[in-house]
Amino acid sequence: MNLQVHLGNLTLSNPIILASGTAGYGREIAPYLDLDRVGAFTLKGLSSTPWVGNPPPRIHETYAGIMNSIGLENKGFDRFFREDLPFLENFQTKIIANIWGKTIEEYSDIAKKMNGLERIDAIEVNVSCPNIEQGGESFSSNGQVLCQLIQNLRQKIQKPLIVKLGPNTDDLNNVLQFMEKEGVDILSITNTFPALAIDVENQSYIFSRKTAGLSGPAIKPLALKLVYDVIQRTRLPIIGMGGIMKTEDALEYFLIGAQAVALGSVNLIDPSAAVQIIEGIKTYLVQKNIFDINDLIGKVR
């Protein structure tokens, strides 16, 4: 049986990836999950310098989902380099660094630092976090600015370059064309959906920034539709994500044409879910008499 997939020049032993921000920097989830079992592991988003993130409350549960407003809190590159990178040397699994900045210069700075690390196999650029003032979604809500950023980063990043687009990407057709032209290698689709919740008791917003990002099974059909939309318009390989809880969810993404999928919220409630999903995919392939997962990808057109 073959589970190996090629996303441009990034080859994964299987198409299951841990999504950024749901598995820490590896050490946190390692007691529950053998990192070498997953195709790739995406680090919690890092900026060049530490970032404190948003004030609490940062999480709110909805029907079959969660809203978060973490605000990209992270320890910054230097502490990651000292505290976490040595641990990651113990594994063979592919590691994707997820990066962000408040300005093009900040993105550029962290991109250069990550590009210089041998242990990092690919770099995912987050231009779709809905929970910060500058950076994140503010880049993908303006097609022109986004293109400028990507052009700049492509020059700095020799490793496979992944762009993580959210549900509200401005001018999608042109952005996708531009990504292809500029040599972006892979797209991650999607990020959390901007959402709102009200505290009825106190007649106020739940979150201090009012809106927050919705994830979990509640968004799966919406995210799947986004992946479908993007697949119609680009030849770039796609990592599909949004609400994957079990094997069947992942299979839906493959069947529609995603070459790999990322698991996010499910890691919070079951840190070993990835292994069960990988095993479930194997069982499915056997049942369907399919030897190579690549024969499944895009079967539903």
């Binding site: 921000g21 749901t22 598995a23 820490g24 946190e28 989830i29 007691p31 529950y32 919690k44 530490p50 404190v52 993130g53 948003n54 004030p55 609490p56 409350p57 940062r58 999480i59 549960e61 909805t62 029907y63 079959a64 989902g65 969660i66 978060n68 973490i70 809190e73 979990g216 099974p217 809880m245 919220s265 890691n267 919070l268 409630i269 079951d270 840190p271 070993s272």
Partner: protein, 257 residues
């Protein structure tokens, strides 16, 4: 992830539930102040596990005691003996266990980790005094846990309630302090209760917040340090601690409440 069978269950009044679960590793490893993340079912709704403090451990079993405060705990209260639950744990950093002498101050359901701590102190022969405060007669069902232990106990109730100090647990503590001169090696204070209790405690005379250990309650996403949801502000420093990984036990002086 671990799976545990419920072996005992009882309601205390209408809003508190005690569950005993069989899971050898948790029962053997858990320390007072630590918690477990317990699933509410397999429907993904509610989505998240719930963090619950550990009440006690005995052989291969451990006890939980929680208050029904929302949809998740309501569902957990409907579990029956023989049901299985998925959980993670024991999680977080517990209390320090080797003081010369101790004072334990608990408010409402905040007595849970302190009850576990009290049992350890009894075994280790650490002398201590327990202060326990309840808001209303509704919570008097919790008193039986402590009154069964061979320990000096002061109980307060904010409603008039015969036999107990009338006021908050910190009023009772202050009153006791005035009547007892504390020994020179001031006893270590351990506290768990509502946020207002911690805020008042930090401002009391002759209190050194950095020498007090408190166990915090927080909404959590994962319980094991990846989602960064359970942020609590660092005092005098930029940034946040995370209750699940840096706590839930903190020094009162290091957090902003």
């Amino acid at each position: 992830m671990k799976r545990a069978k419920i072996v005992q269950k009882r309601f205390l009044g209408t809003s508190f539930v005690e569950l005993w679960l069989e899971e050898k590793d948790i029962a053997h490893l858990a320390s007072p102040g630590q918690f477990v993340m317990v699933t509410t079912g397999s429907s993904y709704d509610p989505f998240l596990k719930r963090p619950l403090g550990i009440l006690a451990c005995q052989e291969n079993q451990f006890g939980l005691l929680f208050e029904i405060v929302g949809r998740g705990t309501q569902i957990l209260s409907q579990l029956e003996i023989g049901d299985q639950v998925d959980l993670l744990g024991p999680l977080g950093n517990g209390f320090s266990l080797n003081p010369k002498e101790a004072l334990l101050i608990g408010g409402g359901r905040g007595f849970v980790p302190l009850y576990f701590l009290a049992q350890i102190f009894i075994n280790k022969k650490v002398p201590f005094q327990f202060f326990f405060g309840i808001r209303s007669q509704e919570e008097k069902v919790l008193i039986e846990y402590l009154s069964q232990l061979p320990i000096p106990l002061v109980i307060s109730c904010q409603e008039e309630f015969s036999g107990f100090y009338c006021g908050t647990v910190l009023d009772a503590f202050e009153n006791w302090r005035q009547q007892h001169s504390l020994s020179k090696s001031a006893p270590k204070i351990y506290a768990c209760g509502p946020q207002g209790m911690f805020q008042t405690l930090a401002k009391m005379d002759d209190i050194i917040p950095n020498q007090i250990e408190v166990s915090l309650e927080s909404r959590m996403g994962c319980g094991y340090g990846v989602c960064l949801s359970c942020a609590v502000k660092k005092k005098g420093l930029p940034g946040y601690f995370h209750v699940c990984k840096d706590g839930p036990v903190f020094r009162l002086g290091e957090i902003e409440l």
